[in-house]
Symmetry: C2
Subunit: 377 residues, 2 copies
Amino acid sequence: MSALPDDELLAWAYLARVAEPPAASVIALTAELGPVDAAAAIRARSVPAAHHAVLAVTQARADTDVAAADLDSAERVGARLVTPADAEWPGFALLALDQADTAAKGGEPLALWVRGPARLDDLVTSAIAIVGSRAASAYGEHVTGMLASGVAQAGCAVISGGAFGIDGAAHRAVVAAGGVTAAAMACGIDRDYPAAHTTLLREVARTGAVISEYPPGTGAAKHRFLTRNRLVAALSEATVVVEAGRRSGAANTAAWARKLGRPLGAVPGPVTSATSVGCHRMIADELAVLVGDVDGVLALAHPEGKAERGSGRVRVTDALDADQCRVHDAFPARGVVSLDEIAYTSGLAVSVVRTALAVLEVRGLVDGDGARWQLSG
Amino acid sequence: MSALPDDELLAWAYLARVAEPPAASVIALTAELGPVDAAAAIRARSVPAAHHAVLAVTQARADTDVAAADLDSAERVGARLVTPADAEWPGFALLALDQADTAAKGGEPLALWVRGPARLDDLVTSAIAIVGSRAASAYGEHVTGMLASGVAQAGCAVISGGAFGIDGAAHRAVVAAGGVTAAAMACGIDRDYPAAHTTLLREVARTGAVISEYPPGTGAAKHRFLTRNRLVAALSEATVVVEAGRRSGAANTAAWARKLGRPLGAVPGPVTSATSVGCHRMIADELAVLVGDVDGVLALAHPEGKAERGSGRVRVTDALDADQCRVHDAFPARGVVSLDEIAYTSGLAVSVVRTALAVLEVRGLVDGDGARWQLSG
């Protein structure tokens, strides 16, 4: 599961539970002492003077060490604990800037429980958050499905909060489109909250990721939704709010996206619909850009243009085999090349290139007439 | 009808027909010579050298003098000719700045035929233009009615173009609300175009005004709609577009509002609706402000009197600080818990929990006897 030594992994699991996230003081202590010594110091109630703040936030749970049980629970549902010591840890520098602001549920996550094959570092460079009201309208769910499947087809992952309404519609559409979707949860990754989303979350975990900074078994609670919202924003390149009422958790996620300097879009709807009031407010107040279609959503994340979209982690190429990848990589960004040029650049036999090109063409990645080929625009 | 001497009024009526509006050169000649001498000069095909341009634009109609007949036709439908010599003439200084721009149908009107009791100078200081697609959706007509009657109830006049769709819905709503509405026409004020709006336009004229710069009997023509649109914008303090397709006359009125530096609002709608595409475009391009209710429309015209946005119902937990929220969230929906259990669940120190519980108890959110606590029923 993890590349870390057992003692370190157990220490991280202990630290991930000992204080209610976000716990900037525990992160700071761990950064200074390392996870094993930080955990020992908290257990012993003996921390360096500069880290005195750790004692208060860990007081209630310091003596309860269920780290091994947490790791077992995670493993049972196919989840892993991803820590700053892991290669896929994306860093949350922008959240860290905010770590004093605990009232706003800010600060970095100490570690993240992740259930599913998607890597966190891949998500942060390709994902778009699509969020909105639990009490979504039929219009909102329809538009969510349209946008989410379009984003997935464009090779971007879709992150949401796993909730009823817009979140669920976003995850469902991506799963149906065969794309990658991730759900950031306000409860443990083993909890399947809401219960009616058990099957959906299992699908999300099968192909993407269910993510939580809360230890297994943790129940959803109001403050955890707010804390979770910052992860949705932090794990994505841009955030789109499809529907949001006057007071809405989605507005909180949107606020996080702005705070992190990430592009924020909002989808308009009928002015007669209570579930669009929040979106209209964000647009009117120039906090969000009006987006109404897939191109608009993609342009939020990649304003430089279509050709650059998802260039870092083009998901559609993930399904290619090694030869197909080499052939794809052999194409120039612009311009037309011959079969022989591709063979030369890729170092593959012409017959292998020809077979690979047929696959790439079927997948819509390249266009050609048999003699001259180019990347699909 | 008019306070002007007959010869002057006849001269204005002649000048109003002798060139297709807008006719900046005729206005300039009239300003220099006065209406009677200007009309005589045009009839005689003898104008000062500086006004040579007048000859070309008046060549076709110079010999046709039906001024008396036009004034009779107007009087028959209860209309008057309002000229810069009348007290109610509002001045169109902003349009005048544009008078060279005849290709864009710009420039001041020379005079206006007005049918109805509303005074032009009153309109320009109180009116809001509400315009939109002829091919309006049921949603668009509904929202138009809501906004137009609200604006009327707030004591503002509503100007529109008398057309099918949004324009008609705006006029109808104001008439029904007992307010003042004015229709700027692309045909003569005696023409009732479109024919299906004959009754509606008669109602508009009875309580407000039907306005045209075209002489009685003039038929509607495509270029006249564009010319008319600038009057809708110029006669109002602010313009609101309720629905507009990708290519729309309403977008032209909107462009005029912007050109004149008048506030422009656009109403969002479903992103799945073709009749909202133009509005969304204007909002996304920051050409128009998103407006969704009567307050928003009124605030466009009078930002200083912007009503405080309703904050909605205040929840009792809104006033809690972060720790108090966490403690509140730590309670199960039903059942009794101990102080230690709350401390564990919330991750807060016992002393912090105790303080928070005291606040929650005072606010009536929880009940307890010091040892056992539960949410207030």
